[in-house]
Every structure is written in C-alpha cells, then in structure tokens.
C-alpha cells in the first residue's frame, strides 16, 4: 500500500498535459472534423500540433478515428471540416514529404528487398547509383543485409515490416506517419521493432505520428501521447511522457502510467456509452479529468496525478 503510494507519487511528474509551445508547429491540425458517407462522425473538433522532431502517438480504442486522422494527415482522406497544414502549407493530397507506413508492409511482391527501395527512390528522382547506395544504407539500418536479394514472400512478418520501415525512412520524409505498423506482429517481434524504431529515432529525430491502440507501445515510443475516444472521435487528453530513453516496456514507472491511461479510457467509454444526451466533446474532456486536465496554454501544468 505504502509502496504503491510512493510509486504513484514518484511517477506523477512523468505524465503531464502537454503545453502549447511557442513557434510554428510542423504539422498543425485545426478543428478537424470528418463525417463518413454513412453519417458516422469519425472526428469532431480535433486540434493537435506536432512540432519538429517530436514523436507523437495517437492512442485510442478501435473506431475512435485515429486512423482516419492519420489518413487525413497523409492526404488520403479529405476531412469534411477544418484544416491540416504542414510547415504552414495546406495538405491537399498524398505527397513524398509525408510517408505513411501501413498496418501491413505493402511491399511490391515482384521486387526484391533492395529493388523495393531502389524503385521508390528512383521515383523520387534519384539517379541509379545514388538510389542503390541509399537503399543499401537503409537496409543496413534495419539489419537486413543478408536478405537484400530476397523476395517479400520469403520474409517473415517482422522482416517485411522492417523493409517497409527502411523504405519509408529512405524516402526522407519530413513527417513519418505510422498506422499501427506492428499490430500484426507477435509480442516478441514487436518489442524488437520498438527497440529498433527507438534507436533509429534517437539518431535521426524524425517527426513521427504513430497510431496505436496499445497503451504500453504508445508510452514506450512517444514523447507525447494523444489519448482519443470514440463516438464521436475526439481528443481526450494530450499528454507529455517524461521518461528517459531508451525505454523499457516493463519499467515500473511505465507500467504505472499505462494503468492510469487505461483507467482514463475506461471512464471515457462509460461516459460515451450512457444513452443520450451525448455531451459535446469539449465538455466531456473537462468533466472527465477534473482539475488540471485538457490543454493548458502556457504556464506550469499541474501534475496529472492530481486528478486521481
């Protein structure tokens, strides 16, 4: 009991509402809403700022609109309301400055691992020689040199995903978007992928938006965890994770934080499961997490532990 209490106290500063930062956001999402043709509200009034070099995880249960939001960032979905801009310019369609890594690797099955990279690099306008060198370099980064000339169907799921990751990184996008890329992998392979992604990210400091429904995954990878809830899809809380890297998924502080987020999601679900009237997104967020929740513009944020 005492131990639990102490633990909770020691982790209270590790998960705090993220502050609005000064300076132009790299990727700005403003009042974005999206309604599907069948009138399902996928997103309502979503505001997120992603800064350069940040690793942001969008976390939420399935059907909370997180993938729709990511597809909107990639330009594959045109949101029915609001604006999305990258470096101040509106996002209109897919472009090589935002590479999306899908849930499945989506490799070209008739090309070898290396050709898969070379092909997209050539499409980007690189010369044959340059593309070849770059492909080799990124294959090295994901430790797949022995499989350079293998065909995708000869690779395991984890290896294919590594190729997809290498292909995306080799394109040098200014923002890397990932849609539950490790969701289909087994637990062990997934944690290897987390280590790999962390080490690559620590070296390159790419701006990453990562969608997941796995709370621990979000805490291991993200600088910020944007917790979303569904029906209608909205942001519950935008939290900053202050844990040292590289992170271990079994670290006690991390486990404690994941427990807190799980509790928060469970409460949100209870609220939105109660029959009408469905409260508007803003109010829900406030009601939900009493003092010190939500986005606080500037100033010192009270620790998140306060409301528990």
């Amino acid at each position: 009991m005492l131990k639990r209490l102490r633990q909770r106290f020691s982790t209270r500063n590790m998960l705090v509402p993220s502050r609005a930062r000064a300076g132009l956001a790299k990727l700005a999402v403003r009042r974005v809403g999206h309604t599907f043709a069948n009138e399902v509200i996928a997103l309502r009034n979503v505001d997120i700022d992603v800064h350069s070099g940040e690793f942001v995880c969008l976390l939420g249960p399935s059907g909370c609109g997180k993938s729709t939001l990511l597809y909107a960032l990639a330009g594959l979905v045109k949101p029915s309301g609001g604006h999305i801009s990258l470096d101040g310019r509106d996002v209109k369609g897919p472009g090589p400055d935002r590479i999306l890594v899908f849930q499945s690797p989506a490799l070209f099955p008739w090309l070898t691992v290396r050709q898969n990279l070379v092909f997209v690099l050539r499409a980007k306008g690189l010369g044959r020689l340059e593309a070849g060198l770059r492909a080799r370099e990124f294959i090295h980064r994901v430790h797949l040199e022995p499989f350079e000339n293998a065909l995708p169907h000869q690779l395991s799921g984890g290896m294919s995903m590594r190729v997809a990751l290498a292909r995306a990184l080799a394109m040098d996008p200014s923002v890397l978007l990932m849609d539950e890329p490790f969701g289909a992998l087994d637990a062990q392979t997934r944690s290897h992928m987390h280590e790999l992604l962390q080490s690559i990210w620590m070296r390159e400091r790419k701006t990453v938006v990562f969608v997941t429904h796995d709370i621990r995954e979000a805490l291991v990878l993200g600088d910020r965890v944007v917790v979303m809830a569904g029906r209608p899809g909205r942001v519950l809380q935008d939290l900053e994770v202050r844990l040292p890297r590289p992170r271990d998924p079994d670290d006690e502080a991390l486990v404690e934080l994941s427990r807190r987020i799980r509790a928060m999601l469970a409460r949100a679900e209870r609220v939105s499961d109660t029959p009408p009237p469905i409260p508007a997104s803003r109010e829900t967020a406030h009601e939900e997490a009493a003092p010190g929740a939500g986005r606080i513009p500037g100033g010192t944020p009270p620790p998140m532990g306060a409301d528990l």
């Binding site: 897919p94 899908f102 008739w110 169907h153």
Partner: protein, 199 residues
C-alpha cells in the same frame, strides 16, 4: 503451316498489345468501365468466325481478313482477363504507391502492369488458344493456304489420313505453345509473385 503461323503471329501480337492496353484502360477509367465493358462482354459471346463475313467485306480475300478474324477472336478475352487482373490488385499496394510518390508512366509500367501480370498472363494464354481456333476456322472457310486449307483439301480428296494428320498437327502446335511457352512463363510469374509455393 508457316503461312498459318505467320498470320497467327501477326494477329496475336496485335491483339495482345491492344487487348492489354484496352483492359488497363477499362479498369482504370470509370466511364470506359460503364460504357465499353458491357460491350466487350457482349461481343465476347460472338464466336470469332462470325467476324469473317465482315472481314471479307472490309478487307477482301486477303491475309488481312484472316488476321482480322484472329484479332477479334482473341482481343476481347485478353482484355477481359487484363481488366480482371488490374481490378484484383491489392488496393493497399496502389495506396502505398501513391503515398510513396510513384506516379505517371512509372506507376503504370512499374506498379500496375507487374501487379496485374498474373491476370495478364492468364489472358494471354486464353487469347492464344482463341486465336489459334479462330485462325483454323477462318482458313477452313476461305481458301488462302495454311493448315485449314490443307484440312479442307483432305476432305475434298477423301483422304482420311491427311485430315487426321492435319488435325494432329493443329493439336500439336496448340499444345506445344500452351504447355511449353505459357506454362513456363506462368510458373515463373506465380513463383516470383509468391502466389505458388516455391518448390
């Protein structure tokens, strides 16, 4: 025999090129899908030899007429299979190509055609046998040399041995091309694409 094969080669090349192009166009362009596709499907029901009277009227008693029949006999089935091949490409692959910035000619030559290749190969194989049949029918009906005429000659001379020999020759050519050329190509494609167990 050589005359037959050269007609076949001409006709088949034309229909393969046009058929693949038409198939891709139908699959990718929406208004073609609604207008041309039913037309192609309908015309497919027409036995290829029914094109012969029209061909004779348009091109006269020439090789062109036979080539035309061959083209019409195989073009449609090639384009239908190609269309099917393109339509059954994993949409994720097309999405990924868009995200990775693969566009224009590079997209068609480097993604669409290879991705649809299993379907295209099936079409080419089907088209080949249709072309071969159309050619024989055409040659039987109007005299201009070739295997078909040889067969007809056998009938007129009451030479059963010749008739059977020519029939055997027709079967032999058809199955050699089918079994050897196409089979090899198809197996290689399927293996490379990971559709068949690589043994």
């Amino acid at each position: 025999m050589l005359r037959s094969l050269s007609r076949l080669a001409q006709g088949y090349l034309i229909s393969a090129t046009l058929g693949v192009a038409l198939g891709i166009a139908i699959a990718r362009v929406r208004w073609l899908q609604t207008t041309v596709k039913p037309l192609v499907l309908g015309l497919q029901a027409l036995p290829s030899i029914c094109w012969l009277p029209l061909a004779l009227l348009w091109f006269g008693l020439s090789d062109m007429a036979i080539v035309f029949v061959v083209v019409m006999g195989s073009l449609l089935s090639i384009s239908i299979s190609t269309e099917d091949g393109v339509a059954s490409i994993d949409p994720l692959l097309l999405r990924a190509s868009g995200v990775l910035g693969v566009r224009g000619l590079r997209f068609y030559a480097g993604v669409l055609v290879p991705a649809a290749l299993p379907g295209i190969v099936t079409g080419l194989k089907l088209g080949w046998s249709f072309a071969w049949r159309a050619l024989m029918a055409g040659e039987l009906l109007f005299v201009a040399g070739g295997l078909g005429q040889l067969l007809q000659q056998g009938r007129e001379l009451l030479d059963v041995a010749q008739v059977m020999a020519v029939m055997l020759a027709i079967v032999a050519v058809g199955s050699i091309v089918d079994q050897v050329l196409f089979r090899l190509f198809e197996v290689r494609v399927r293996r490379r694409w990971g559709l068949a167990e690589a043994v």
